[in-house]
Symmetry: D3
Subunit: 162 residues, 6 copies
């Protein structure tokens, strides 16, 4: 079975990695796909986001990294994949994601979304919080792997705090 | 009794039509009013939004279409109407709308907001989802009446995906 | 238009009265119906609950009081009524009531549930809180009309705190 | 991969069957296990609940039916299974189930709970609603397969409406 | 300033202790009061619950343990205390507690409820989960201090699993 | 004990004042600090926001007004303060603030966030609603002290409705 884990990963955090590691054990192949969102402008470039993902997911042999500009359901059809895996942190996340899962079913009835609960230590963690902390000199050691911490801080300095 | 159903209708969806049809049976006259929101910039022009509403609501004899730049409560006073009807999709909608209903009471104590639950098939549907799908080549057949589908797709192409 | 406001009213509180008063203005006739719930055992007898309702709703000429043992939808059919009016206090109320509204639609597709938000001063008020306070010597002056306060306190003493 | 779907199934509804059918496609074997709950007393006997499950799940070759008195995590260990699959209807379901998933992790760190969103038509459906309707002469055709409808109605009559 | 932390503590868990320790630093005296709830029948006797509290809170010099049969607001008046401190685990807890805080204000306008968020490791923990685990042979090491674990298991055996 | 109440106060409302008044009674000193948010652009200038705060909080002798560009936790360290006090209006507020409280703990483990429930009359009130009303000629008498009402209306006119 192929699982697909989609997001903007702007940037990847320990919360994403936790879900990807746990989900990768449950499937033959897990594709992590960076989606181009037509509305939100990302802080990190696509190349940077893919680079960060590659650096922190290299230890997972059955994980592939990809990117796509378009609807997730079209990507799923392209890959002949039918399982979307989605990490849920908070209760308020769930309502939006449940709506998204219903929308996806209307486009591709065979697609299924499997939700996993974020590990307790990452249940309050988001890319936005990481960026807010990093821009203001906070400590992001708990939130991103040490091997990409300096890269993230450097890139954020370059973007001048966008 | 006059009911007023207000929104940005950017664009109108089957979800709006469902609420308008069901509410129109419960009152003498239902006014559908497109409100100019001072914060959000709409994707469709006011004229386009009114045009789309007229095309899909023509079969409802006691429904009037109008527009207003200002507070909904001021429109209600102007029309000597006291019932706002509001469709609710998700639970998270309700908290915001409940606050809005209390605010409206402070401005016009006689006004009442009646909430109706979206029909199950439209409970996950929003104008934003429709636009996101349409811009990315998704199928919006389930979400808007067929007689306005091509108009919506055409207008979205003109706006270049805003 | 006939509105029906159903509940166990065990006992009626200012929160119920607020919704009934506001709803009665919006319809020709409002029927307040005490439903026999097959699961919960009420604290007050049916006769007491009807008596309390009659004492506090007498000033509303278009309000009728009734009782029924069975499904609300069957009562609606019996009365040829199609509008259920329901007060919502908290956000968590809404999810349950939304499910109930969908269930009712499967039994009687013409039925509509209109939700009204409790007035801000009664948004935290429930029959259970009133009973808990009354049993422990708390002050229920804010929560029930003065003309039934002593009746409620007396009846609760008789039931020995059930 | 073995998935386990646990519950009281008191009685099984179309909502359960929807999740079981969709989940069974995603795994090699799906075990449906009726758990003895130490707190809630079921309406249907264990034998009746197992019988109803067998009647409606016979068409799914990789689905097994079982029962267990004890903690779900202990059953998972016994079966060397690590994936719990859980259907979610409403938003309020999710918070409880997320807590349960964390508790289960403390007992058996390898266990994962995968949540699936109920199909839109069953998003408001529960065993309790089915029993409440059935006891009061409501129509349960939308909620349970026709081949077990009469069995459910008959058994409920025997229990005298508990 | 005196803080009061009230509950049924049936039994005390690491979640309660976490809140009590953190709150005790913020006040001159913290009173932990076991309230007799007129509705729920506790699993542990009052004496057992007080005994367990004493065993695990002895290291906190400014913490007192007490019990009361009646409304928390009456206890607050008796002690001339005006701050209730309340730990919140989940989002759904908050709505109920917010209602309770408003009710308490009507009885004793000077009373204030301060809410603290449970530490992340106890955010899913409740006395009910502890009892459910303990009765079924689960591991409660993460949830209660080791010095009371055997007492809890022994008492639960005596009550025959109520 | 020093309490810190942080926000953008854009502009201060009766809701903020209610929390500040109630919290100031519970501590030796309460610092109200206007935080520069790196993402949201405020409607009122920092000077205007500080001026409005000074005009409405002058009657509270133990309240200080300050401003800071950076993380709240860094401000807390600077002031050797460890208690953040936060008003909660709606249930949906709580989930975000709970996440923020956990993030703050990772940066400064001694910091505690105490949540207070907004008084019932301000439970639906926000700076955004006040601005929306004011820009459209609505009545903001219920929402801001009369001594700053004209200042707010004047400043909003100057900003041209941003």
């Amino acid at each position: 079975m192929i699982f697909v884990c989609a997001g903007s990963f702007d940037p990847v955090t320990n919360g994403h990695i936790d879900i990807i590691e746990r989900a990768s054990i449950l499937c033959d192949k897990l594709i992590v796909v960076v989606l181009k969102n037509s509305v939100k402008i990302p802080t990190f470039t696509l190349d940077d986001r893919l680079d960060l993902l590659r650096r922190v997911l290299g230890h997972l042999p059955n994980v592939e990294i990809d990117h796509y500009a378009g609807l997730l359901v079209d990507y799923m059809k392209l890959k002949k994949a039918r399982v979307i895996v989605k990490g849920l942190r908070a209760v308020s996340d769930y309502e939006y994601e449940m709506q998204m899962a219903h929308i996806n079913k209307t486009q591709y009835p065979e697609v299924e979304t499997l939700f996993m609960t974020a590990s307790i230590n990452y249940s309050y963690l988001s890319s936005s919080f990481v960026k807010e902390l990093a821009r203001n000199g906070g400590n992001i050691d708990f939130f991103v792997p040490s091997i990409i911490k300096d890269l993230i801080l450097g890139k954020l300095k370059d973007t001048g705090g966008n």
